[in-house]
């Protein structure tokens, strides 16, 4: 399974409004009235001419398909709207959101994965969502992950963080955005068009100040280990709300030169648990 999410919000929003108008029209003109008119007419003929029309298979097919169309159009509208909202408000992933997504995707592998996660109550659902979806990245090294992320494509945006130093699961994916959307955002934030944007998937719905006890990542940080990309570690820090300060990290791991700043394009609604001063952190190390 490909571990990427591609979403074009403006197209999705447009489709949602079209589906909304389709639903309104369907609800105002009862779709099954076409079937009912034929059924009534055939009943009259049968009454007068002694059950001349006996085969009702096609009529039943029409009726069933009309109802399916009604139901699926409504459901498609609801699901699309929820999904659009879900990916816009990534920091607000809740169990309800996962349930909704699971229902939406129920007929394919994503739905099955989501459903299997739901049965395991001991796992934090939102965290597991990303762990399961991106589980094939468990064995990838940090370098490999960095290679994946060092794309020049304006449209491919890596989400999440790679924490590969100790083989800890990292949530890595990509969000493909429509160019206009990004250019508008770029203008607003004064960014260049060829910069890479990072989306962070919040796989933990706890506050940033909470620490996860017995968490592998926390243990890894506490024990001395070779310095990896400072960016990844810092992202991991934010991600899991680690209490370690930057000075503590620097003293342990060695200084990192942050003089070259990469303008990080992260639309506000997608940034999660970031302080303002951290927005301008460089990404050079990450993409070397």
């Amino acid at each position: 399974m490909d571990n990427k999410v591609y979403i074009d919000h403006s197209k999705l929003t447009n489709s949602i409004s079209i589906l909304d108008s389709i639903n309104n029209t369907i609800n105002s003109v009862d779709l099954t009235s076409f079937y009912e008119n034929i059924e009534e007419y055939m009943k009259e003929i049968n009454y007068k001419h002694d059950e001349v029309f006996t085969n009702k298979e096609e009529l039943n097919n029409i009726y069933n398909n009309l109802n399916i169309i009604k139901r699926k159009t409504n459901s498609l509208y609801d699901s699309l709207e929820k999904t659009n909202q879900y990916f816009i408000n990534l920091e607000e992933v809740t169990e309800e959101t996962v349930n909704s997504l699971s229902d939406f995707y129920k007929e394919n592998d994503i739905g099955k994965s989501l459903k299997s996660l739901k049965t395991n109550n001991s796992i934090d659902l939102t965290k597991s969502l990303n762990m399961e979806l991106y589980s094939s990245n468990k064995e990838k090294s940090n370098q490999q992950v960095e290679k994946e992320l060092s794309t020049d494509s304006i449209d491919t945006v890596p989400i999440g963080i790679a924490i590969g130093a100790t083989g800890i699961i990292g949530s890595v994916g990509a969000v493909v955005l429509n160019e206009k959307f990004e250019k508008d955002k770029a203008k607003h934030h004064g960014r260049k068009d060829n910069t890479v944007k990072i989306y962070r998937v919040h796989s933990n719905n706890k506050s940033k100040n909470e620490t996860l006890e017995n968490d592998d990542y926390t243990k890894a940080l506490e024990s001395p280990q070779p310095y990896v990309a400072s960016r990844t570690r810092r992202e991991a820090e934010k991600y899991y709300g680690n209490d370690l300060t930057q000075e503590a990290l620097n003293s342990r791991m060695g200084k990192v030169d942050y003089s070259t700043e990469l303008q990080d394009i992260v639309p506000e609604q997608k940034e999660i648990n970031l302080d303002d001063e951290e927005e301008k952190e460089p990404l050079d190390d990450f993409y070397e």
């Binding site: 399974m1 490909d2 571990n3 990427k4 999410v5 591609y6 979403i7 074009d8 197209k11 999705l12 929003t13 447009n14 489709s15 949602i16 079209i18 389709i22 029209t25 369907i26 003109v29 076409f34 008119n37 034929i38 007419y41 055939m42 003929i45 007068k48 001419h49 002694d50 059950e51 001349v52 029309f53 006996t54 085969n55 096609e58 009529l59 097919n61 029409i62 398909n65 009309l66 399916i68 169309i69 699926k72 159009t73 459901s75 498609l76 699901s79 699309l80 999904t83 939406f104 995707y105 007929e107 394919n108 592998d109 994503i110 979806l133």
Partner: protein, 156 residues
Amino acid sequence: MSKVEWITWKTDPKEIINPTEIEETIQSNFQEYTHYMNPVIYEPLKQEIKTGGLSKDAFNVGGYSPSNDIAIDIINKIEEIKISYTLLLKKIREEAINQKEIEKRQLISAITEQIKRDQDNIRILSNNRQKNENEILILKNRIKRLEEKKQITYSL
């Protein structure tokens, strides 16, 4: 499909089942359906599937695009309804034509029997022609009308 009890020699041939009229009624209903469905649902959805937010490129999770799948399913259901309508029309036409033949034969048979009865009555009444002249005339007129009706029924 079977004989109907209400057909007698008095039945108007226009009351026999009319497959053409039935077909036109169903077709008109079908046209009303397509004129509604096409611009309201079918075409907008198709466009969105090709290039809009329901396309595989617009929303794709792990290689799957469920919105695309569902939208294509809706389009397929609309197409299935068109096919069902066509098949329904074909079956109705066949069944109506068969029923029409049965009713035609039934009416012609009833008319033929009545003509024969009237002719027998004329023969009996002719024994005393002077006395039964009026009745004989009535019967002869009726036979004439029944023959015409029979021809109309044959031509249906």
